[in-house]
């Protein structure tokens, strides 16, 4: 009998705080069980820089700049299933609090007019730096998303339930106790 092929998984954090990834690590010793079933592609866990063809892509954080758009599109192109993990990916979350301000005012305040800036500081224009978008968006406004895993962060048990459902071929269903967010 041939060895069962492992599910290939990629993860990333866009405009997020890595809190969802920390919650993911909170599945604790179940990580070892998980590693029997999956192997990681691009992820903060592996430090692989670009995503190859995967079965599952997990996205933390919303979309706040041009680089986020590129990364998100790379994931969508390579992952059969794409999951929005946590409040920021699902709704924009905390970073989207800037949406009621004009980006130009924000950049000006942060780099030009706020106190405590070094002399001669300007809004950075280095092409190395990704430009921020006018507004922060949930990821489903930029690419098609297959599943949403709500929570700030989603509890480790919810992430575990979600992954084990998916691995077992069931439609993921969080149900009472694990799903208690708007």
């Amino acid at each position: 009998m041939s060895e069962k092929t492992k599910l290939r998984v990629a993860t990333t954090s866009l405009a997020g705080c890595f809190g969802c990834h920390m919650s993911f690590l909170d599945i604790d010793e179940r990580l070892l069980d998980l590693l029997e079933l999956v192997e990681f592609d691009r992820s903060p866990i592996t430090d692989i820089k670009h995503c190859g063809p995967c079965d599952l892509g997990i996205i933390e954080g919303g979309v706040c700049n041009a680089e986020n758009v590129h990364v998100l599109r790379e994931f969508r192109k390579n992952c059969k299933i794409l999951v929005a993990m946590g409040a920021c990916a699902v709704n924009g979350g905390l970073p989207a609090q800037r949406n009621h301000l004009d980006l130009r005012d924000i950049l000006e305040a942060v780099y030009e007019t706020e106190g405590g800036l070094a002399r001669g500081v300007h809004i950075p224009n280095d092409p190395e730096l990704p430009l921020p978008l006018n507004k922060v968006h949930p990821i489903h406004e930029v690419v098609k998303v297959d599943y949403f895993l709500p929570g700030c962060p989603p509890p480790a048990d919810a992430i575990w339930k979600f992954l084990t459902d998916l691995l077992a071929g069931r439609t993921p269903h969080l149900g009472h106790g694990l799903l208690h967010y708007d």
């Binding site: 224009n125 990704p130 507004k135 968006h137 489903h140």
Partner: protein
Amino acid sequence: MKEDDAILAVLARHGNDGSRLMQILRETQEALGWLAPETITAIARGVNWPRAKVEGTAAFYSFFHTRPRGKYCVLWSDNITDRMLGNRDLMQAMCAKLWLEPGRLSEDGLVSVNTTSCTGMCDQGPALLVNYRAVTRMDMARVEQMAELIRNQVPVEQWPAEWFRVEDNIRRKDALLDHGLVPGEALAAAMERGPAGLIDEIKASGLRGRGGAGFSTGMKWEFCRNAPGNGDQPAHYVVCNADEGEPGTFKDRVLLTSHADLVFEGMTLAGYAIGAQKGLMYLRGEYRYMKDALEAVLARRRDDRLLGKRILDKDFDFDIEIHFGAGAYVCGEESALIESLEGKPGRPRIRPPFPVTHGYLNQPTTVNNVETLAAACLVARHGGAWYARLGTAKSAGTKLLSVSGDVERPGIYEYPFGVTVRQVLDDAGATGCVQGVQVSGPSGVTLSADELDRRICFEDIPTAGAFMVFDCTRDMFEVARNFAHFFAHESCGFCTPCRVGTQVVARLMDKLATGHGSQYDIDEMFKMHRLMQGASHCGLGNSACNPLFDTLNKFRPAYERRLKSLEYEPAFDLDAALSQARQMTGRDDAGAHLENAE
């Protein structure tokens, strides 16, 4: 300290009773212009409620202002029928003349112009409310004149009376509108039979609720009569639901304008049947202009011994009081209406228990639609068997339809139940070719031209009365989008499926409207329909996706021609979303741009 005196006077008028908070807030606002923080504090102290509870009610209703309102508050009715009559252009013109942005108070604090949900003037729109007085038949000339009057600060009372004229537009009468009853006639007949006899007749008549749900009126009264009442001071109550908020519906306005006696007599009959001494009419805030006329009818009925102590010299005391809503559609749901009558935000209760056992002030309460109560008079006078002969087997009697949209003669049409949609269209003079008909308002059903032989009755299409007609030049997608925004605005916010779901749907519709739509979005809308229908707390969320579902199924091309892709499209222009950062950094390199599609 003039303000304090005004507040104290209102509080005294209502016996410092917190359950009358809606009326206290409205009257205080009428006296002071708006509900300032210190006003809320004073009222909370007066009724001895926590301040947060008072503020919770004040903030819930869109007709209560917890921010300075300005001397003139213009609210354009924004139902689809108003839009079809060009309200958007008129509102823009008004804003331009007043140097205003919609929704913003002018710099000098003089005036604000905004939209509101349907004001029930669909047969004589475009309509608006100015300082909560209804204005009909707006046109460009009136807009210009109105802007002038506002700029010159002429009090609304001195504006042309013609603007405030509201027509009945009764086009077809049947048993109800041709009732021929004199005040007291139905009541006297009922008293001959006694309460139990009256309930028997109502049951025998097959009369069903005219608000749309169609529950048996006789059974409702019987349940209520048999409920023992609760607590130290058991009592029974009659509530007349005159919160006619379903866009496109205006039959209750006409009944209350021209047949108020019949409605009040119906309430009195209900009170007699269930053993109540008090009736409350919950009238929507949009119909505030009717107050004096209705109060006069009540006063006359008291003089005629048709209300008050020992009615018609029998051992029966009953009186009626009018309460006003404040612009919340959800209060048309009976348990939300009761919450509102008790001074609380209009959030539907969890049922059971039902109002017939635990309603107003936790006492047995029968909540009936205006038209139901009016029809009960016919049954009381002519008997159940007579009434049951009208209409169809399971839908006894007649129904008032509020016809508006693309017809030559919009207005009120009364038919025996069972009339075909085609018949109504013919009688109303549907202009050009009919594309669709929205029956029973946004929460009802959208009919296509293939379905015109369907019948208005509980066996086929039940309705609360709205009947909006769309000819072939109309865009059914825009009809559904108008309704989606209506529900997003009117969701009470209590349960997540409805609060979030109505917003998600409105945004998806906007995404399609701005040309970013894809098949994915249509799939999402079907998902939202299923989710909201199954998981919402009340009928508002359950039915909020009805027009979407119907138009998606029956008018699919109206959606498909807006789709940019059959797979997926981003919700916004990605490259344009970098515009501000490009401007601020002066960059224009490749990295400073995004491809909109890959």
